[in-house]
């Protein structure tokens, strides 16, 4: 099993705000991130695909499949957008980087089952950097145990 990771970038704005809470509670919980006008980040996205190396090509997965899926499912959807206002998902769900990370995992999971030529390829991990100083990782729920065996 080899783990292939590719880094991508997108820029978006968001506001951390929960309608179920009072204005005061939102302010206490989210601080500056609750600013009603929103604010932006340059996100760095790492997508890790795991699989056996295909004997014919020497690859885990054709990078064109990975690039195409990330472009269509993530970059086209989120780049240069307001996450709260422009995406259906985050109209009701607070677009913390945790939630964006989990959402991206869900968007990509089915798209990275490489099909007949890449039967063992599958999405292993989403890592999302909100800034240079913070990052979030999600391995899906089923593979937590396997993920924890490894030190990344």
């Amino acid at each position: 099993m080899v783990y292939l990771t590719r880094r991508y970038r997108f820029s978006a704005s968001h506001r951390l705000h929960n309608d179920a809470l009072t204005a005061k509670e939102n302010s206490r919980l989210y601080g500056k991130c609750d600013n009603a006008f929103g604010h932006g980040h340059n996100y760095v996205l790492e997508v890790t695909v795991a699989g056996e190396v295909d004997a014919e090509t020497g690859m885990v997965l054709d990078l064109a499949i990975l690039d195409g899926a990330v472009q269509r499912e993530v970059i086209d959807r989120f780049d240069l957008s307001n996450l709260n206002l422009d995406s259906d998902r985050f109209r009701t769900l607070v677009p913390t980087t945790e939630n964006v990370c989990i959402e991206i995992y869900g968007l990509l999971r089915e798209k990275l089952n490489g099909g007949s030529h890449w039967p063992t390829a599958h999405l292993d991990r989403i890592r999302l950097e909100e800034t240079n100083s913070n990052a979030f990782e999600y391995f899906g729920e089923e593979s937590q145990f396997e993920a924890l065996r490894r030190v990344r």
């Binding site: 990771t5 190396v53 020497g58 990078l63 490894r150």
Partner: protein
């Protein structure tokens, strides 16, 4: 258990080609990387060794030894080389980043006197890397 990582860098050229496939299939699958004249990368190699801390030295292994091992086993073989033409294993195995990482594992794993090889991480570019844990 402690995990120690040492980084090394090397530069090499390669191209992707499978002689069992037709020229058209090779071009379709590998695109520009099929150019037989090759193209190059600055590779960054992170080698992680896992082990217990020795009570006398406070170390998993002497990092000078690991540095020497990387130089003798990997850099001398691959640095400033055309991988397909100058590294024998890649005459038959396509030198994708995946296969280079596995080959580096095979080169280093039997040579470690202390600790156990845990991970090979090989960056082909800052935005593309593979991890191999030996299985």
């Amino acid at each position: 258990m402690i995990y120690v990582t040492r980084r090394a860098e090397f530069s090499a050229s390669h191209f992707y080609h499978n002689p069992k496939l037709s020229p058209e299939e090779n071009r379709r699958i590998f695109g520009k990387t099929n150019n037989p004249n090759g193209h190059g990368h600055n590779y960054t190699l992170d080698v992680t060794v896992a082990g217990e801390v020795d009570v006398t030295t406070g170390m998993v292994m002497d990092l000078k030894d690991l540095k020497k091992l990387l130089e003798s086993e990997v850099l001398q073989l691959m640095d400033h080389r055309f991988l397909n033409k100058e590294v024998p294993v890649f005459a038959k195995t396509i030198p994708t980043t995946e296969n280079i990482a596995i080959e580096i594992w095979k080169l280093l794993s039997p040579k470690l006197a202390h600790g156990k090889l845990h991970r090979i991480r090989l960056y082909e570019t800052p935005d593309l890397f593979v991890d191999y844990f030996g299985e």
